[in-house]
Protein backbone atom coordinates (compact mmCIF):
# COMPACT_ATOMS: atom_id res chain seq x y z
CA UNK A 1 0.00 0.00 0.00
CA UNK A 2 1.29 3.47 -0.85
CA UNK A 3 2.23 5.52 2.18
CA UNK A 4 1.75 9.23 2.53
CA UNK A 5 2.73 9.44 6.19
CA UNK A 6 5.74 7.54 7.50
CA UNK A 7 5.35 4.95 10.26
CA UNK A 8 6.95 7.38 12.72
CA UNK A 9 4.50 10.12 11.72
CA UNK A 10 1.57 7.73 12.19
CA UNK A 11 2.86 6.85 15.65
CA UNK A 12 3.06 10.54 16.56
CA UNK A 13 -0.51 11.11 15.34
CA UNK A 14 -1.76 8.19 17.42
CA UNK A 15 0.09 9.45 20.47
CA UNK A 16 -1.35 12.94 20.05
CA UNK A 17 -4.88 11.60 19.56
CA UNK A 18 -4.60 9.56 22.73
CA UNK A 19 -3.83 12.78 24.57
CA UNK A 20 -0.28 11.68 25.47
CA UNK A 21 2.36 14.36 25.72
CA UNK A 22 4.84 14.61 22.86
CA UNK A 23 8.57 15.08 23.11
CA UNK A 24 10.09 18.24 21.65
CA UNK A 25 11.29 16.25 18.64
CA UNK A 26 7.82 14.76 18.05
CA UNK A 27 6.20 18.19 18.32
CA UNK A 28 8.62 19.44 15.69
CA UNK A 29 7.74 16.57 13.36
CA UNK A 30 4.03 17.28 13.93
CA UNK A 31 4.30 20.94 12.99
CA UNK A 32 6.97 20.78 10.31
CA UNK A 33 6.05 17.59 8.49
CA UNK A 34 2.67 16.11 9.46
CA UNK A 35 0.54 19.26 9.41
CA UNK A 36 1.97 20.57 6.09
CA UNK A 37 1.39 17.14 4.50
CA UNK A 38 -2.22 17.06 5.73
CA UNK A 39 -2.77 20.63 4.52
CA UNK A 40 -1.53 19.61 1.07
CA UNK A 41 -3.78 16.52 1.03
CA UNK A 42 -6.77 18.74 1.82
CA UNK A 43 -6.18 20.67 -1.41
CA UNK A 44 -6.33 17.55 -3.56
CA UNK A 45 -9.63 16.49 -5.04
CA UNK A 46 -8.88 12.77 -5.20
CA UNK A 47 -12.13 11.78 -6.99
CA UNK A 48 -11.53 14.34 -9.70
CA UNK A 49 -7.92 13.30 -10.16
CA UNK A 50 -8.75 9.59 -10.28
CA UNK A 51 -11.45 10.33 -12.83
CA UNK A 52 -8.96 12.21 -14.98
CA UNK A 53 -6.31 9.54 -14.66
CA UNK A 54 -8.69 6.79 -15.71
CA UNK A 55 -7.92 5.58 -19.21
CA UNK A 56 -10.69 6.53 -21.60
CA UNK A 57 -10.43 4.95 -25.02
CA UNK A 58 -12.83 7.53 -26.44
CA UNK A 59 -10.56 10.42 -25.45
CA UNK A 60 -7.69 9.57 -27.77
CA UNK A 61 -9.93 9.10 -30.78
CA UNK A 62 -11.86 12.35 -30.12
CA UNK A 63 -8.68 14.35 -29.65
CA UNK A 64 -7.09 12.94 -32.81
CA UNK A 65 -10.19 13.92 -34.81
CA UNK A 66 -10.15 17.46 -33.37
CA UNK A 67 -6.44 17.87 -34.06
CA UNK A 68 -6.87 16.76 -37.65
CA UNK A 69 -9.89 19.02 -38.25
CA UNK A 70 -8.13 22.09 -36.85
CA UNK A 71 -4.78 21.53 -38.56
CA UNK A 72 -6.42 20.81 -41.92
CA UNK A 73 -8.49 24.00 -41.82
CA UNK A 74 -6.52 26.67 -39.97
CA UNK A 75 -3.13 27.99 -41.01
CA UNK A 76 -0.33 28.78 -38.59
CA UNK A 77 -1.66 26.88 -35.58
CA UNK A 78 0.61 27.26 -32.56
CA UNK A 79 -1.38 25.13 -30.16
CA UNK A 80 -4.75 23.45 -29.67
CA UNK A 81 -6.18 23.54 -26.17
CA UNK A 82 -9.24 21.65 -24.98
CA UNK A 83 -11.11 22.85 -21.90
CA UNK A 84 -14.49 22.80 -20.20
CA UNK A 85 -16.60 19.95 -18.89
CA UNK A 86 -15.45 17.41 -21.51
CA UNK A 87 -11.88 17.62 -20.22
CA UNK A 88 -12.85 18.05 -16.59
CA UNK A 89 -14.96 14.87 -16.65
CA UNK A 90 -12.65 12.88 -18.93
CA UNK A 91 -15.38 12.87 -21.62
CA UNK A 92 -18.01 11.45 -19.28
CA UNK A 93 -20.41 14.40 -18.89
CA UNK A 94 -20.46 17.13 -21.49
CA UNK A 95 -22.63 18.80 -24.11
CA UNK A 96 -19.91 20.22 -26.27
CA UNK A 97 -16.14 20.33 -26.38
CA UNK A 98 -14.53 23.75 -25.88
CA UNK A 99 -11.57 24.24 -28.18
CA UNK A 100 -9.18 27.18 -28.01
CA UNK A 101 -6.92 27.49 -31.02
CA UNK A 102 -3.83 29.66 -30.55
CA UNK A 103 -2.40 30.86 -33.84
CA UNK A 104 1.14 32.12 -34.43
CA UNK A 105 -0.21 35.47 -35.61
CA UNK A 106 -3.59 37.15 -36.05
CA UNK A 107 -5.49 34.93 -38.48
CA UNK A 108 -7.60 37.66 -40.05
CA UNK A 109 -8.92 41.09 -39.15
CA UNK A 110 -12.13 40.20 -40.93
CA UNK A 111 -14.48 38.92 -38.24
CA UNK A 112 -16.95 37.49 -40.72
CA UNK A 113 -14.21 35.47 -42.37
CA UNK A 114 -13.16 34.11 -38.98
CA UNK A 115 -16.74 33.27 -38.05
CA UNK A 116 -17.30 31.47 -41.38
CA UNK A 117 -14.16 29.43 -40.79
CA UNK A 118 -15.38 28.45 -37.32
CA UNK A 119 -18.81 27.46 -38.71
CA UNK A 120 -17.14 25.40 -41.42
CA UNK A 121 -15.03 23.47 -38.91
CA UNK A 122 -18.03 23.02 -36.60
CA UNK A 123 -20.05 21.58 -39.51
CA UNK A 124 -17.24 19.20 -40.42
CA UNK A 125 -16.96 18.17 -36.76
CA UNK A 126 -20.70 17.48 -36.58
CA UNK A 127 -20.29 14.99 -39.42
CA UNK A 128 -17.73 13.23 -37.22
CA UNK A 129 -20.22 13.27 -34.33
CA UNK A 130 -18.46 16.07 -32.44
CA UNK A 131 -20.10 19.20 -31.08
CA UNK A 132 -17.32 21.77 -30.90
CA UNK A 133 -17.29 25.28 -29.46
CA UNK A 134 -14.25 26.86 -31.12
CA UNK A 135 -12.43 30.06 -30.24
CA UNK A 136 -9.47 31.25 -32.30
CA UNK A 137 -6.97 33.80 -30.96
CA UNK A 138 -3.43 34.80 -31.72
CA UNK A 139 -1.14 33.27 -29.10
CA UNK A 140 0.08 36.72 -28.07
CA UNK A 141 -3.48 37.83 -27.41
CA UNK A 142 -4.11 34.83 -25.11
CA UNK A 143 -0.92 35.50 -23.15
CA UNK A 144 -1.62 39.23 -22.82
CA UNK A 145 -5.22 38.76 -21.76
CA UNK A 146 -4.71 35.82 -19.46
CA UNK A 147 -3.54 37.50 -16.21
CA UNK A 148 -6.62 39.72 -16.10
CA UNK A 149 -9.24 37.63 -17.86
CA UNK A 150 -11.44 35.72 -15.39
CA UNK A 151 -12.89 33.55 -18.19
CA UNK A 152 -9.53 32.53 -19.63
CA UNK A 153 -8.11 31.88 -16.16
CA UNK A 154 -10.91 29.43 -15.44
CA UNK A 155 -10.97 27.91 -18.92
CA UNK A 156 -7.25 27.19 -18.93
CA UNK A 157 -7.16 25.89 -15.35
CA UNK A 158 -8.15 22.31 -16.24
CA UNK A 159 -7.27 22.41 -19.89
CA UNK A 160 -5.40 19.93 -22.02
CA UNK A 161 -3.03 20.88 -24.78
CA UNK A 162 -3.44 18.35 -27.58
CA UNK A 163 -1.12 20.04 -30.07
CA UNK A 164 1.87 22.37 -29.75
CA UNK A 165 2.58 24.34 -26.62
CA UNK A 166 1.74 27.62 -24.98
CA UNK A 167 3.43 29.32 -22.06
CA UNK A 168 0.72 30.49 -19.71
CA UNK A 169 1.92 33.16 -17.24
CA UNK A 170 2.40 31.89 -13.69
CA UNK A 171 1.06 34.95 -12.02
CA UNK A 172 -2.55 36.04 -12.18
CA UNK A 173 -3.08 39.68 -11.37
CA UNK A 174 -6.67 40.77 -11.40
CA UNK A 175 -8.04 44.18 -10.60
CA UNK A 176 -11.50 45.18 -9.48
CA UNK A 177 -12.06 46.46 -13.03
CA UNK A 178 -11.59 42.98 -14.48
CA UNK A 179 -14.06 41.46 -12.06
CA UNK A 180 -16.61 44.23 -12.51
CA UNK A 181 -16.41 43.74 -16.26
CA UNK A 182 -16.93 40.03 -15.77
CA UNK A 183 -19.97 40.72 -13.59
CA UNK A 184 -21.57 42.70 -16.41
CA UNK A 185 -22.20 39.45 -18.28
CA UNK A 186 -24.67 38.54 -15.57
CA UNK A 187 -26.65 41.71 -16.17
CA UNK A 188 -27.67 40.93 -19.73
CA UNK A 189 -30.11 38.21 -18.74
CA UNK A 190 -33.77 39.00 -18.21
CA UNK A 191 -37.13 37.25 -18.01
CA UNK A 192 -36.91 36.37 -21.72
CA UNK A 193 -33.52 34.71 -21.41
CA UNK A 194 -33.29 30.94 -21.62
CA UNK A 195 -32.75 28.88 -18.49
CA UNK A 196 -29.29 28.03 -19.75
CA UNK A 197 -28.38 31.70 -20.10
CA UNK A 198 -29.62 32.35 -16.56
CA UNK A 199 -27.63 29.36 -15.29
CA UNK A 200 -24.45 30.78 -16.81
CA UNK A 201 -25.22 34.23 -15.41
CA UNK A 202 -25.31 32.85 -11.87
CA UNK A 203 -22.24 30.71 -12.56
CA UNK A 204 -20.52 33.90 -13.66
CA UNK A 205 -21.32 35.52 -10.31
CA UNK A 206 -19.98 32.52 -8.40
CA UNK A 207 -16.82 32.64 -10.51
CA UNK A 208 -16.25 36.28 -9.49
CA UNK A 209 -16.81 35.38 -5.82
CA UNK A 210 -14.27 32.54 -6.04
CA UNK A 211 -11.70 34.82 -7.67
CA UNK A 212 -12.27 37.38 -4.91
CA UNK A 213 -11.33 34.52 -2.59
CA UNK A 214 -8.25 33.82 -4.76
CA UNK A 215 -9.59 30.48 -5.88
CA UNK A 216 -9.34 29.01 -9.36
CA UNK A 217 -11.17 25.73 -9.07
CA UNK A 218 -13.69 24.54 -11.65
CA UNK A 219 -14.91 21.75 -9.40
CA UNK A 220 -15.67 24.17 -6.58
CA UNK A 221 -17.29 26.53 -9.07
CA UNK A 222 -19.73 23.87 -10.26
CA UNK A 223 -20.42 22.78 -6.68
CA UNK A 224 -21.01 26.33 -5.51
CA UNK A 225 -23.66 26.83 -8.20
CA UNK A 226 -25.35 23.58 -7.18
CA UNK A 227 -25.18 24.53 -3.48
CA UNK A 228 -26.66 27.89 -4.31
CA UNK A 229 -29.54 26.71 -6.50
CA UNK A 230 -29.98 23.10 -5.46
CA UNK A 231 -29.17 20.29 -7.87
CA UNK A 232 -32.70 20.04 -9.31
CA UNK A 233 -33.08 23.71 -10.13
CA UNK A 234 -29.55 23.88 -11.53
CA UNK A 235 -30.36 20.99 -13.89
CA UNK A 236 -33.72 22.45 -14.89
CA UNK A 237 -32.13 25.78 -15.71
CA UNK A 238 -29.37 24.14 -17.74
CA UNK A 239 -31.92 22.13 -19.69
CA UNK A 240 -34.23 25.16 -20.01
CA UNK A 241 -36.99 23.38 -18.11
CA UNK A 242 -37.28 25.81 -15.18
CA UNK A 243 -40.65 27.49 -14.61
CA UNK A 244 -41.14 31.23 -15.05
CA UNK A 245 -41.35 31.79 -11.31
CA UNK A 246 -38.11 29.86 -10.74
CA UNK A 247 -36.38 31.91 -13.40
CA UNK A 248 -37.72 35.10 -11.85
CA UNK A 249 -36.42 34.15 -8.42
CA UNK A 250 -32.96 33.36 -9.77
CA UNK A 251 -32.95 36.59 -11.78
CA UNK A 252 -33.77 38.59 -8.64
CA UNK A 253 -30.93 36.88 -6.85
CA UNK A 254 -28.59 37.65 -9.74
CA UNK A 255 -29.53 41.34 -9.63
CA UNK A 256 -29.00 41.61 -5.88
CA UNK A 257 -25.67 39.76 -5.95
CA UNK A 258 -24.39 41.57 -9.02
CA UNK A 259 -25.17 45.02 -7.58
CA UNK A 260 -23.73 44.11 -4.20
CA UNK A 261 -20.51 42.70 -5.66
CA UNK A 262 -20.09 45.57 -8.11
CA UNK A 263 -20.41 48.11 -5.28
CA UNK A 264 -18.04 46.12 -3.06
CA UNK A 265 -15.45 45.87 -5.83
CA UNK A 266 -15.77 49.54 -6.61
CA UNK A 267 -15.62 50.94 -3.11
CA UNK A 268 -13.38 48.60 -1.13
CA UNK A 269 -9.73 49.33 -1.89
CA UNK A 270 -8.72 45.79 -0.96
CA UNK A 271 -9.90 44.60 -4.38
CA UNK A 272 -7.58 46.98 -6.20
CA UNK A 273 -5.19 44.16 -6.94
CA UNK A 274 -5.86 40.44 -6.51
CA UNK A 275 -2.81 38.27 -6.99
CA UNK A 276 -3.11 34.53 -7.41
CA UNK A 277 -0.25 32.15 -8.02
CA UNK A 278 -1.11 29.83 -10.87
CA UNK A 279 -0.40 26.26 -9.78
Amino acid sequence: MAQILTQRENEIINKKMKGLSLTQNESNILSKSIRPKLDEIKKINADLLLNKLEYNQKAKSIEEKIKKLILNNIEGVQSIILCGSAIQTNYKEYNDIDVIVATKKVLTENKMEKRRLIWKIQDLAKKEGLNLDIQIYAEESIINQYPSSPSLIYQLKDSKIIYGKIKIPNKIELSSWDLRMKLDWSDIVDAYSTGNEIYYAIRNIMLVILLMNRKVDNYELNNSVINMLGRDLASRLKEDKASRIEKKLVLNYIRVMSNYLAAELRTNPKWGKIEILNQ
Binding site: Q145, S149, S175, W177, R180, M181, I188
Partner: protein, 103 residues
Protein backbone atom coordinates in the same frame (compact mmCIF):
# COMPACT_ATOMS: atom_id res chain seq x y z
CA UNK B 1 -38.70 35.93 -29.98
CA UNK B 2 -40.51 39.01 -31.30
CA UNK B 3 -38.89 41.95 -32.97
CA UNK B 4 -39.31 44.21 -29.91
CA UNK B 5 -37.56 41.66 -27.79
CA UNK B 6 -34.73 41.42 -30.33
CA UNK B 7 -34.41 45.21 -30.36
CA UNK B 8 -34.00 45.10 -26.59
CA UNK B 9 -31.29 42.44 -26.89
CA UNK B 10 -29.40 44.49 -29.48
CA UNK B 11 -29.68 47.61 -27.29
CA UNK B 12 -28.36 45.84 -24.17
CA UNK B 13 -25.45 44.23 -26.04
CA UNK B 14 -24.61 47.38 -27.97
CA UNK B 15 -24.66 49.40 -24.75
CA UNK B 16 -22.34 46.89 -23.07
CA UNK B 17 -19.96 47.06 -26.03
CA UNK B 18 -19.84 50.83 -25.68
CA UNK B 19 -19.46 50.73 -21.89
CA UNK B 20 -16.49 48.37 -22.21
CA UNK B 21 -14.95 50.47 -24.97
CA UNK B 22 -15.19 53.58 -22.80
CA UNK B 23 -13.88 51.84 -19.66
CA UNK B 24 -11.00 50.27 -21.63
CA UNK B 25 -10.10 53.72 -22.93
CA UNK B 26 -10.13 55.37 -19.53
CA UNK B 27 -8.83 52.66 -17.25
CA UNK B 28 -5.85 53.63 -15.14
CA UNK B 29 -4.63 50.05 -15.28
CA UNK B 30 -2.88 49.42 -18.60
CA UNK B 31 -2.44 45.68 -17.83
CA UNK B 32 -6.21 45.26 -18.00
CA UNK B 33 -6.51 46.89 -21.41
CA UNK B 34 -6.08 43.73 -23.54
CA UNK B 35 -8.75 41.96 -21.52
CA UNK B 36 -11.15 44.91 -21.50
CA UNK B 37 -10.78 45.34 -25.25
CA UNK B 38 -11.34 41.62 -25.76
CA UNK B 39 -14.49 41.85 -23.66
CA UNK B 40 -15.73 44.74 -25.80
CA UNK B 41 -14.99 42.63 -28.90
CA UNK B 42 -16.95 39.71 -27.45
CA UNK B 43 -19.98 41.93 -26.75
CA UNK B 44 -19.61 43.36 -30.26
CA UNK B 45 -19.64 39.92 -31.78
CA UNK B 46 -22.81 39.03 -29.84
CA UNK B 47 -24.39 42.34 -30.88
CA UNK B 48 -23.62 41.47 -34.51
CA UNK B 49 -25.29 38.07 -34.11
CA UNK B 50 -28.41 39.69 -32.68
CA UNK B 51 -28.37 42.55 -35.23
CA UNK B 52 -28.10 40.27 -38.23
CA UNK B 53 -31.50 38.71 -37.57
CA UNK B 54 -33.43 41.55 -39.24
CA UNK B 55 -33.18 44.12 -41.94
CA UNK B 56 -33.75 47.07 -39.65
CA UNK B 57 -35.50 50.14 -41.04
CA UNK B 58 -34.27 53.66 -40.27
CA UNK B 59 -36.82 54.09 -37.47
CA UNK B 60 -35.58 50.90 -35.77
CA UNK B 61 -31.97 52.00 -36.13
CA UNK B 62 -32.69 55.43 -34.63
CA UNK B 63 -34.57 53.77 -31.79
CA UNK B 64 -31.69 51.33 -31.11
CA UNK B 65 -29.21 54.19 -31.14
CA UNK B 66 -31.24 56.34 -28.72
CA UNK B 67 -31.98 53.51 -26.31
CA UNK B 68 -28.36 52.34 -26.34
CA UNK B 69 -27.13 55.86 -25.47
CA UNK B 70 -29.62 55.94 -22.55
CA UNK B 71 -28.47 52.50 -21.41
CA UNK B 72 -24.79 53.42 -21.53
CA UNK B 73 -25.45 56.54 -19.44
CA UNK B 74 -27.39 54.46 -16.93
CA UNK B 75 -24.76 51.70 -16.65
CA UNK B 76 -21.82 54.11 -16.45
CA UNK B 77 -23.46 56.21 -13.76
CA UNK B 78 -24.68 53.29 -11.68
CA UNK B 79 -21.83 50.80 -12.09
CA UNK B 80 -18.85 52.88 -13.13
CA UNK B 81 -19.23 56.24 -11.40
CA UNK B 82 -15.45 56.22 -10.92
CA UNK B 83 -14.79 56.37 -14.68
CA UNK B 84 -14.08 59.90 -15.84
CA UNK B 85 -15.17 60.55 -19.42
CA UNK B 86 -16.86 63.17 -21.58
CA UNK B 87 -20.60 62.64 -22.04
CA UNK B 88 -20.24 63.32 -25.78
CA UNK B 89 -18.08 60.21 -26.01
CA UNK B 90 -21.13 58.02 -25.49
CA UNK B 91 -22.88 59.24 -28.62
CA UNK B 92 -19.64 59.02 -30.61
CA UNK B 93 -18.92 55.44 -29.50
CA UNK B 94 -22.49 54.31 -30.19
CA UNK B 95 -22.38 55.92 -33.65
CA UNK B 96 -19.09 54.18 -34.34
CA UNK B 97 -20.45 50.81 -33.19
CA UNK B 98 -23.62 51.25 -35.28
CA UNK B 99 -21.41 51.97 -38.30
CA UNK B 100 -19.54 48.72 -37.69
CA UNK B 101 -22.84 46.84 -37.49
CA UNK B 102 -23.87 48.20 -40.87
CA UNK B 103 -20.71 46.98 -42.58
Amino acid sequence: MGKNRDIKSVVVLLANTAVHEIVAKHTNRPESKPFLEAEAAEYRSQTENAYEKYNWNQRDKDHIRQEAVKDVKKVLSSKYPDVVFHVEEIQAVINEEMKKLEL
